[in-house]
Amino acid sequence: MHRGAPRLSATAGTVPAVSLRRVTKRFPETRLDDEVVAVDELDLDVTDGEFFALLGPSGCGKTTTLRMVAGFEFPTEGSVHIHGTEMGRRPPDRRPVNTVFQSYALFPHMTVAENVAFGLRMRDVARDEARRRVAEAIELVQLRGRDGAMPGDLSGGQQQRVALARALVNRPKVLLLDEPLGALDLRLREAMQVELKQLQALLGITFVHVTHDQEEALAMSDRLAVMDAGRLVQVGTPAEVYERPRTRFVAEFLGDANLLTAEAVDAERVRLPDGTVVRIASGRSAGAAVHLSLRPEQLDLVAAGTPVEPHLDAVEGTVARIGYFGSAIEYDVALDTGGPEVLVTARLGNARGVVARTVGERVRMRWTPDSVTVLED
């Protein structure tokens, strides 16, 4: 295509790379005459070229969702579209996607180069072109010189790279990654997170990444979906989902959250368990119980009695516990409820000048009203 011609991809870009419409997957439970619903009426669009993470605890249906995109499972109801084409019951070998498996699933009886070349051989790519593309892919994942090695002789990180090269060499429209970093140790995992992200940006291929690791999902994805019990709970950018969790589940699953039950005073204010009235962003009708989420790192701790500036809200309490994490210190503060104990955790960066508190000390916690998120449940 020459310059100046209308870009086809401009219109193609509006078609989602992956699109799930009311997808339900039920597995037969043979013991009882019952069925297990793994995925429940899922509607999801993955934009072309984005790094999309499917996040959720084990058993939430995220892997089943991925497997339905790959073609290893077919939806019981609903439809899967890839770049606008309905997949129906099309088998995996006739879908424009490739998968990086959780434990890599490298062919143990083939060398690195043979593993990488497998997809090209299956698609009858000419020998010279195949050789060139295999070399490129091996170069891309920085495994040059290991072409002849057997998978069993490679480290976990290297096997991971082979799996990546084996999938990418086919130039899939969508790359599906099923917990690809799960088997690596922490340090390697962090390095691979950066590398995968760079690779995705370089190639511009849509990545759909399944993980149960919230940090991984937040750090890598352009957008993420949180799943629970077969349903989609929230979809958005990492900042949207982390800072404005829709439900209690999302607030708790992504990072740490102080979950408080308060009572609506009017549309903009709620009464906390200790009686303090504070502001919230979005309103509720008076008298109703409201669930709030407050991220520990958005709370500040000052000495009791410090004047509260008008743009802040604050409560007072007593330091009940201190957790020292090196780079951060967490203070669990008991509010003056007079009844059952309510603890609110504040996480302070261990920066120079931060005043250390002691257990039993009276403190004032303060925050900006937009740090308070009202949850739906």
Partner: protein, 306 residues
Amino acid sequence: MVGVAPAPAPARRRGPRPPAPPGPEREAARAAARRGALIGLPPLVTMVLLFAVPLGIVAVYSVATRGRTGRTELADWNLDAYARLLEPLVLEIAGRSLGYAALTTLLCLAIGYPFAYWLTTRRPGVRAVLLVLVMLPFWSNFLVRTYAWRVLLGSDGPIVTALAAVGLGEVRLLFTPFAVVLGLVYGYLPFMVLPLYSSLERLDLRLVEAARDLGATGWEAFRRVTWPLSRPGVVAGSVLVFIPSFGAYVTPELLGGSRTTLVGSFVVRQFLSARDWPFGSALSMAILVVMLAATVAYFRAQERRS
């Protein structure tokens, strides 16, 4: 006089060599070796007494002389019995035995592979029951089971009667090559199924999914992933079926006719009817060597391929 070597040894020792394990570890290794020898002793004695010694006796008899009355004389050591191994009759029987064993192995593989694969796809409880069923025939006597086939295949047995009833006429089944191969396949199928099952069960099904994901059709995925990875089971199963099929005695004797004499029966005949112990012994030794060589060659070939 013994010449004194110029002792180049110290110079050689400078090359890389594994560091000697420290004292206590070496002691522990020695103790483990002692324990190992102690545990290994009873089976070693058993093998020597029940296997090596009889084999030695057969080897000795094979170079002895047959007396005029059929008595074997342990004198005049010669290789005459071995020379007779190349007689046309011997070659014919050996060729037939090889053919039957090869056919039995192929049939067992053709039946056993799909069955073993199907087994691995069952739920664990069902699998355990089916595996017990595979081994169930071993709980009754092989001879009895072979006699049962005689009844089943006999001229007034249920199979022949049924075939006649549907208008296929008078079919003779018993004492035919068909009956022999049927009996051999029946008898040795479990030896094929069990190693196949154990190697297929270990196969990671995600590898098949990976192949499909990379564009392989079901057949291609089988050909390039499942089959090569189950080859150890195929090799083990084939060897376990081929060897006893080749030397089978009971099955061809009870289900076959005079035209289906196999080496097992032929050897027995040398000892019992012909009273030619040296020839029988030489035959046994030849079978042993051929089988051993074939097995080693087969394993080597498979190793090279994978």
